[in-house]
Amino acid sequence: MITVYKDKRDIPDNVEYVELNDLFFNQNTAAKLDGQAEALIKKIDSSKLVSKYKIESKFNGVVLDVDCLSTGCKTVLNVLYFPDKVFCMKECGENALEELYRLGRGAVYSDYAMIPFEMENVTASSVNGDRVVDDYEELKEWWEDEK
């Protein structure tokens, strides 16, 4: 399950925080794309990964560079391929959030609640410790009340 932070100060000092997901993806993650990325790109962006660095646009079938993926999709792929870093999740739409919360590991940050309606277990990490949450309302309460 992924780990969620709501305060940057709770991110361990030895763990890198990445705010600019577009830039990080273009510089680091794009080169790592493999079969794991294909299904996520299809689910989130409704696009087809046609080669290592190319996707087929959902709008008109034109082949584009992978830098044209949505920021939400790039964020999910950043977390997938770099589970040792913490990524800003604020630019994820509902469709990206659903896939983000299904990842087996990784870490994300937002100072306000970013929760998909259909969520999986997450580890909510704060100064008060870690706790596993599997309920939308409980996680929302953690985000809003326990500051």
Binding site: I44, F59, N60, C68, L69, T71, C73, E91, G93, A96
Partner: protein, 142 residues
């Protein structure tokens, strides 16, 4: 917050087979919705218009190191289009935008905090195919 657009009510941008055709009903338009709707693609087509339209000012994550407040405070009579707004705009800039009567805003993001927004400000992107063309329009989100 309901207030009439101070710069333009209509924006049309054409980029090869893509057409952006936005009608604004408010001075602050927050464009939200799912990932991959075409928001950043639309932003890139509008940004291209900056080359010939002096009334458009576009900002995105490439401006992350810049003083966004200063840039906005210097602007007069502009449609200021901001992509990646959730990471670019801090609370102070958001409050300034909410009270800015000199410029109009198209804000691409999901967090309406400190913009004093109501449902009148929230829009989503709709794409339509017309032959080989793809047209992007905005419609009320709620």
């Amino acid at each position: 917050m309901k207030s009439n657009p101070v710069v333009m009510e209509h924006l049309r941008a054409v980029h090869t087979s893509y057409v952006v055709d936005f009608t604004f009903t408010n001075n602050i338009t927050i464009l939200t919705g799912p990932s991959a709707a075409g928001k950043t693609a639309s932003f890139s087509f509008i940004r291209e218009c900056m080359a010939i339209n002096p009334n458009i000012l576009c900002l995105n994550y490439l401006d992350y190191q810049k003083d966004i407040m200063h840039i906005i405070q210097q602007a007069k009579g502009k449609l200021i289009v901001i992509d990646n707004a959730d990471i670019l705009l801090d609370d102070a800039v958001r409050k300034h935008i909410s009270l800015d009567a000199d410029n109009q805003y198209l804000i691409i993001g999901r967090n309406p905090k400190n913009l004093f927004a109501t449902k009148d400000n929230l829009f989503e992107l709709i794409s339509r195919r017309d032959g080989e063309q793809t047209e992007f329009v905005i419609e009320p989100y709620l």
